[in-house]
Symmetry: C2
């Protein structure tokens, strides 16, 4: 296809007129699609339903160790669920605390705790003039929301094909004492699908932080969320690498089953060094007597072990693949070679990241909304919602059906074309 | 019975020798009872088991409003569960946020949030030189643990028969700007079983706090936890009274179903003014996408409504009454008139509060432990674990069976007698 860049003004105007007709037709259909959030689709929820039969009024409610899950106890989670989450997170069971239904909540708790009481005895962050976090971009809006909420200054760090710009990360972390943390989604990153290379993980582990209370917030949200069977990414174990590098306490790993069992009714976990866990325990045992152990038992018995988890995720992959492929094939057939957008084909995770021409993302998202297609707000993938190039758009293809994804993506490419032409004509 | 106070030294020594024999016999039995925490008994858990059948793989998972409880959404709780908790807490549904499995966790979150970002825009507590909380005593150790954890100075306020010493509360709250809160268990108080009188509730509502960010932490943990059918306490609605008094934002009410359905697998809620809720929302929506809505649905469908809840609590009362009466009748028959202890007969809640002779509580708890009976640590019902008179002992009769409670209470009274005689002999 001829690139829009090579078109004359007349050609662009002719094309624009044709697109306007298409837009009218699309608008007349009165469609309504929501691709704003990474929500599992109904078919994914359906395969988790048998989990709700695993625990019933006839069930033995005791853990393997004989503790009654119906009563108080086991603040750090029941043994079998700690083992399950440890295997999923590729760490050892003693390093894991299984918590409630939300890993985001554990991250929030970890940050607000550091604000008030510091990290393992360091000066509370609220007593400092300035606290900064590094934010690989594009990234996860809800991470940025937490740090913004507490007035933590966010510094964007470009995310490349194999992870964040580590020169920049090292420069900040090793020389600026105000830098206390970095948000990472190391595998099938939200929204780009990026998986950190071994070299990147090792460079993380070998940071020499200026601040003793610097921590890596390693949100391994998509650790077993592959889309394909033959091309599955693997990452190095950050906890082990940190130990080897003499930085055993530098990382907190987070994960949950929100996109494995049920969003909102899954289990979440944090994995970290025993020293960090001792400090967390001091506060978590003041915060709560224990998390929902019946739900932990439900998860442990339904999935049984890591093989059960992986088998379940294989079913997810089969359900998600057609949705991702619907989007990718339409992007390819409709936009390849036009010079008005790039996208990354992910091997896992929940999103497709689209880069429009600079200055077009907000307009594309707005145009889509007019046609009944709700996307994540443009800019959401950047700290403070400010994408300096106004070009990143996060597509969440998981909730609609494959057929709906076809319809929705057609609207999307239509809007991309139209907005890009308007931009070119106004230049 | 002859009071120990009226006995001669010889009489006491004779009695002591007899008690030593009894202690030896008891010790030889090798008993093991735990009355340390307010844990529901197995019979109470058993009647909640049918709840686990309410939601299964065949269930319609939608709320009355048609929202899918299996997916993200409804950060403030599903409608029918908000209504259920509102009715239980005697407030209106719009004033309720249903959260996760633990009201203690909501209290912790409320305090740590106030530390970092203040209350509705006030100066964050962590920026102040001094923050103080009033603590009616004896009270709930886990409340005190939260405030202690964050370095908040705790000021004990005596709890009388109809509530805290309100002269003292008014004196502090109305004149000391550092006083930011008070811990209250207004109904069937932990551990004394006290229910605040209407006058006390009105005096609370009519406080004129020196600090604009002063809040009453109204932990209505035992709001429907009666022991008898004919003598049930009622309290005035603090939220309404605060509104009437022109202090609409002064109170946070907390409650949960931990001692109704399952400890650790229930649902919890906070009720407060709409202004307070707006502020909470700002942070809670950064903290979590939503709480466990499937469990909220399970609760709403199992209990149906407030009548269902009350009917269920009537069953609890029937199971608990024999346990409380076993303790009370032995205390009465063995200790009445001896002058070595007082106790309060509660009409609801989870505890019996015992006052020994001054300076004896720690020794009694230690002696009980030697004989296999674990009680809550003496002092736990006071801030910093320091009971100035060393006399309060919290008895938690809910977990053992009635027969076990008889055995355990016999050991308890034996230890009370023995320690009291030792005390008298050493005076």
């Amino acid at each position: 296809m001829k690139s829009y860049m090579d078109m004359s003004r007349e050609e662009l105007l002719t094309l624009k007129a044709a697109l306007e007709e298409e837009l009218k037709t699309a608008e007349a259909k009165g469609l309504s699609f929501n691709m704003a959030r990474g929500k599992p689709g109904l078919s994914q929820l359906a395969i988790a339903m048998p989990m709700l039969d695993v625990i019933n009024s006839e069930s033995d409610m005791k853990t393997i160790l004989g503790n009654d899950t119906r009563n108080y106890g086991d603040w750090d989670g029941i043994g079998e669920c700690r083992q399950l989450m440890a295997d999923m997170m590729e760490v050892n069971k003693p390093n894991v605390i299984v918590c409630g239904n939300s890993s985001l909540n554990i991250m929030y708790d970890t940050i607000i705790r550091s604000m008030v009481v510091g990290v393992n005895g360091s000066t509370p962050w609220c007593k400092l003039d300035k606290v900064k976090f590094l934010c690989p971009v594009p990234g996860y809006d809800r991470h940025f929301r937490i740090t913004e909420t507490f007035g933590i200054e966010m510094i964007p760090v470009p995310l490349g094909e194999d992870g964040p710009d580590m020169d920049m990360v090292e420069e900040y972390v090793n020389h600026d004492e105000a830098v206390k943390g970095i948000w990472c989604v190391p595998k099938y990153s939200n929204p780009t699908g990026t998986t950190y290379s071994d070299e990147v993980v090792r460079r993380f582990a070998n940071l020499k932080p200026k601040a003793e209370d610097f921590r890596i917030f390693w949100d391994n949200a998509y650790c077993i969320h592959h889309i394909y069977e033959d091309t599955q990414d693997k990452i190095l174990n950050i906890l082990e690498e940190c130990e080897k590098a003499g930085n055993p306490d530098m990382v907190y790993i987070f994960a949950s089953t929100s996109k494995i069992s049920f969003p909102g009714s899954g289990v979440s976990a944090i994995a970290t060094s025993l020293t960090n866990m001792e400090y967390i325990k001091k506060f978590m045992t003041a915060q709560i007597i224990g998390h929902d152990k019946i739900n932990q038992l439900r998860h442990a018995r339904f999935f049984k072990n890591i093989d059960g988890l992986n088998a379940h995720m294989k079913k997810h992959a089969e359900l998600l693949r057609p949705k991702f492929e619907a989007v990718l094939s339409i992007l390819e057939s409709e936009l390849a070679g036009l010079g008005i957008g790039n996208w990354i084909k992910p091997r896992g995770g929940y999103f497709i990241s689209f880069e429009s021409m600079p200055g077009c993302a907000k307009a594309i998202v707005a145009k889509c909304k007019e046609l009944g297609l709700v996307l994540t707000d443009a800019g959401a993938t950047y700290p403070y919602g400010k994408d300096p190039k106004d070009s990143n758009i996060r597509i969440a293809p998981t909730f609609p059906t494959p057929q709906e994804m076809v319809e929705a993506t057609k609207i999307f490419v239509l809007c991309v074309k139209f907005v890009s032409i308007e931009k070119l004509l106004n230049q």
